[in-house]
Symmetry: none
Subunit: 203 residues, 2 copies
């Protein structure tokens, strides 16, 4: 072709296209045509090759994802993935420290994420419609860093009718990184509760 040099080779165009769609999923093929300087057919063949669905499909997926996220908020309300749960007894959750959880400067996890995991678990382990954290006594034993997997283990230490004491220990590997004693109010005694914090939903 005459203008071959002016345009990108296929590989690079594919990369560019992927990038363009990634940082603006609302872009049409028409727009891509303009930005990539190729025909709309080429854009479509490229999407086909790359397995990138059409605009409407992309929007639908995003919409469904957010809709599901909203619908499954109860699950979402727990920070970390619960891998074991014995109501009123114990529970385990895993939480991976990603980019968005750390201070970029130090790579150290922001404390509230570590705290949130432990707190969520403490609340989840209580077998009640609504559970609210009343007090927490916590200790950050060592800092948790980017990429580390934080495993929180919760044990219910005493379960009164309106209060429960839950102990949570979080580990990275064998190392203890966080320890907390939570007092959780349960909905059974709700009339007397003024303080409170999280609601725990179970589906």
């Amino acid at each position: 072709m005459v203008r071959t040099i002016e345009r990108l080779p296929k590989r690079q165009r594919h990369q560019l296209l992927t990038g363009l769609i990634e940082d603006n999923p609302f872009i049409t093929d028409q727009e891509l045509t303009r930005q990539l300087k190729v025909s709309i057919q080429t854009v479509r063949l490229d999407r086909l090759e790359l397995g990138i669905p059409e605009l409407r499909e992309r929007m639908k997926l995003m919409a469904e994802r957010s809709y599901d996220a909203v619908r499954s908020l109860p699950l979402h309300e727990v920070i970390g993935d619960i891998v074991d749960l014995q109501l009123d007894h114990s529970g385990i959750s895993i939480f991976e420290i990603k980019e968005e959880h750390v201070f970029s400067r130090t790579g150290i996890a922001r404390g509230h994420h570590v705290f949130a995991q432990a707190n969520s678990l403490a609340v989840a382990v209580i077998n009640d419609e609504i559970a609210l954290t009343a007090t927490a006594d916590i200790r950050f034993v060592r800092s948790v860093k980017l990429g580390e997997k934080c495993i929180a283990k919760a044990y219910v230490r005493s379960g009164g009718r309106s209060k429960a004491k839950v102990e949570v220990c979080s580990y990275v590997g064998d190392e203890l990184v966080f320890q907390g004693h939570f007092v959780i109010y349960r909905s059974a005694g709700e009339s007397g509760i003024e303080g409170g914090m999280d609601g725990a939903d179970r589906n």
Copy 2:
């Protein structure tokens, strides 16, 4: 009409239609036609009257909303606006409880946000390159709800060379909602520190 009695009056149909779309935004007019037992034109006139956009528009709106939510996450990293700061002495921050901070079911703020505001402030008030939370003793006095503005006040109670004790009280109006005693390590004594939590970034 012959079958007037079989069908709903307009008002009720509008209510039903609104409800149907609300709990399944992905429904097409075709589907609505079947469920409402009226023609597709009627469905469309109804949507027009009610100001309900077409399926694709609804999906687009949902997709955009979720996309914006993701994009604004980085901003999220600053928990509360610091409005006053006297290093090694005291500080005040304000944090407004928005949709994304509460449990949708109850409208009660997730505890880790309230905690995060207090913790951020406790860390910020310490005049050091790196400050790390070692322990925290916290109490959620009453739940904070959607729309409320949480004002956190921090006071440095004792400041050793390597440790500082910071007390944080959070209020909504005059009401105390949260109280916490934080022990913060400062970088001056970093060699001896194993525990820790947050780095304090000051912009």
